[in-house]
């Protein structure tokens, strides 16, 4: 069922195809099924404090209040639209937990994003364009950003110092007194045994499989990296 007033952003400009009401309900059921959901939503005074403190609300057509209200009303049309249009604009700073009612709109968005990833929604695929190498880095090495990412073509707006770092990377890393920081492709030296334990966590919690719907190539590469490493160690994945 489509409610005309739910479309605060006209569907003809969103670029996403509509889906049956059952699909929307199914997606929202997944959001509600997360054990954290009940801790994140208590209703809404409509005071707007969450919007006033929200950085994304200042620069995007985005409102944490609308997120909390749509969830509270269980308005599956609007929730679906938010999952396609809004949730990736959130900064995840959690300024919105200043809510006097105790809501956590940022937390609701975390769950909505997980559901969008798990279901391979178009918004999730779009949001992760250009982000694959970060996921590869964190899942395969155990550290998220590395010194060798500081390349001027990737960060031209960070100033000429980025080029200096890149040009002197090996020497400048060897000049760091903590022994764990002499690395260039990871933030610090992570022990092999630690990495194997991390791989087992990604495999056994389903975190690795979450990306199969949004980036099948990345999923295949990571799966191969992890399973090969575990096989070398004689560990059953």
């Amino acid at each position: 069922m489509t409610q005309p007033d739910a479309a605060y952003k006209a569907r003809d400009v969103t670029g996403y195809a509509d889906v049956p009401a059952e699909t929307k309900e199914h997606l929202f059921e997944q959001v509600k099924a997360d054990p954290r959901y009940a801790d994140y939503l208590y209703g809404c005074y409509e005071c707007g404090i969450c919007v006033a403190v929200c950085p994304s609300a200042r620069f995007y057509d985005f409102s944490p209040r609308r997120i909390a209200q749509a969830a509270a009303r269980e308005d599956v049309d609007l929730i679906y639209q938010q999952m396609q249009e809004d949730i990736w604009e959130c900064s995840q700073c959690f300024s919105c937990v200043r809510c006097p009612r105790g809501n956590n709109p940022g937390g609701i968005i975390t769950i909505m994003r997980e559901v969008a990833i798990n279901n391979g929604l178009a918004s999730a695929k779009e949001a992760l364009v250009g982000y694959s190498r970060i996921i590869y880095k964190i899942m395969s090495t155990g550290t998220q950003v590395s010194p060798d990412m500081l390349q001027q073509d990737a960060f031209p707006d960070w100033g000429p110092e980025t080029a200096d770092v890149s040009a002197n990377l090996d020497l400048w890393r060897r000049a760091l007194p903590p022994e764990t920081l002499h690395t260039t492709s990871t933030g610090w030296k992570v022990a092999d045994s630690t990495l194997i334990e991390l791989y087992l966590i990604w495999l056994h919690t389903g975190a690795l499989d979450m990306i199969s719907g949004v980036d099948p190539s990345l999923h295949a590469i990571l799966q191969e990296v992890m399973e090969e490493r575990l096989e070398e160690e004689g560990i059953e994945p």
């Binding site: 939503l41 950085p55 959690f94 300024s95 994003r113 998220q144 707006d157 060897r174 610090w188 979450m210």
Partner: protein, 397 residues
């Protein structure tokens, strides 16, 4: 007039009733100890001298002074290595022992808040794996990153509230040969610096009384599970977190306020990497320019990986547009290290920063040209093969 039956109203409200078990945890430490008594998990206790501090709502939180397991930050180690190095350096100067582990992964929360390509069980398992690794060494964890600190507090709440999550994580840990371990307190390094600010100030060798400071408090430090952050009635009347500001004041710097102190920095997790137009705009328009106009600081001090990165790196492009930017951005740890006499390049690694820090160094009485020449001389030793790596003795020579 239509009368709505009370039952119908209550039924509508039922979904939002806040049960006693859904209120914010008043004393997570007590909850952990109760769960430990039931055999649900293992709590790592502090076993060295600790300082008693006060949290937002008055709970006592102890900060262990020595024998600490440094949970490093990927953003600090990767892109702002002088941040981590300064934390270690200050701890060494005060004579407190520590462990810098290789048996540590990132908390992975930067990726989680950016891409959501993980889930509650995986995030909890990553956290607990790190805590179990710390407990095996006997050193007590000290968290470098504000996001790791905030996320681990979230994970702790989830594990306390949800037995099914505990059971799942226990199962995963059993496969790794580990137990479900959580420390009795989750401690951020800036809390350690705040707790020991008078010991730090006692070792101060550089006068900073002419330095004007603005403080950006990190969202994931004091907004995420806000009850655990440190407050002090003597600092902002107890209305803002006391860390960073308390340290800067103890060192004698002049801390000035500005109207957008509550705003985030604009990091955004995914935005800083793939949507930086938002990050740059927010960081300059809502933070740096406001600070410049209202407080005219020599330096912005903050206490989190993302905040230093965002506020420091976002100024270059804004400067090209003649915006009112151009202020050094340092972590509280780097500022304290400089005040204690640390080398600006060998220890604080300021050559990794973008915003111009040289006017600040001049105000602190540091000859940055001479300091750079000293650093370059050390680099030549590496280039010539005289040494493979610099070590702690080199940075203080």
């Amino acid at each position: 007039m239509t009368t709505i039956p009370v039952e119908a109203l209550l039924r509508k409200k039922e979904h939002f009733e806040r049960g006693a078990d859904r209120r914010a945890l008043e004393d997570p430490r007590a909850e952990l100890l109760a769960l430990e008594a039931q055999g649900e998990l293992v709590v790592q206790k502090m076993d060295r001298e600790a300082m008693a501090m006060t949290t937002k709502y008055g709970r006592e939180k102890r900060i262990q002074k020595s024998h600490l397991w440094h949970h490093k930050s990927c953003g600090q180690c990767g892109h702002i290595p002088g941040y981590s190095t300064s934390i270690f350096w200050v701890m060494r100067k005060l004579g407190y022992d520590y462990h810098d582990p290789q048996d540590q992964t990132s908390c992975t929360a930067w990726n989680y808040y950016a891409s959501a390509t993980s889930n509650a069980a995986a995030q909890a398992a990553v956290a607990v794996r790190n805590f179990a690794a710390a407990e095996q060494t006997g050193y007590f964890p000290l968290i470098h990153c504000g996001t790791s600190y905030g996320h681990y507090k979230e994970v702790r709440e989830e594990l306390i509230r949800h037995p099914e999550l505990r059971a799942e994580v226990r199962g995963i840990m059993a496969r790794l040969g580990k137990q479900l371990v959580l420390p009795e307190e989750i401690i951020h390094y800036s809390e350690w610096f705040f707790a020991l600010r008078h010991e730090i100030a006692a070792k101060q060798v550089r006068d900073v009384s002419n330095v004007v400071v603005t403080v950006h408090p990190a969202c994931h430090y004091y907004k995420l599970v806000e009850g655990d952050a440190l407050y002090d009635p003597e600092i902002y009347g107890g209305q803002r977190t006391a860390v960073v500001t308390g340290l800067a004041q103890a060192l004698g710097a002049e801390v000035r306020s500005y109207s957008t102190w509550f705003d985030c920095c604009g990091f955004g997790f995914r935005h800083i990497l793939v949507q930086r137009d938002f990050t740059r705009s927010f960081a300059t328009l809502r933070k740096i320019e406001v600070m410049k106009e209202e407080a005219d600081p020599d330096v912005v001090l903050t206490h989190d990986t993302g905040c230093v990165t965002t506020l420091d790196k976002s100024q270059f492009a804004a400067k090209a547009h003649d915006r009112n930017v151009g202020v050094a951005v340092l972590s509280d740890a780097q500022f304290a290290a400089l005040a204690m006499g640390a080398h600006p390049y060998k220890v604080c690694q300021l050559h990794w920063h973008s915003a111009d820090y040289r006017p600040l160094l001049e105000k602190m009485g540091i000859d940055h040209e001479q300091a750079w020449a000293e650093f370059q001389a050390d680099i030549k030793r590496l280039e010539s093969g005289e040494k493979r790596y610099l070590d702690w003795d080199d940075v203080d020579s």
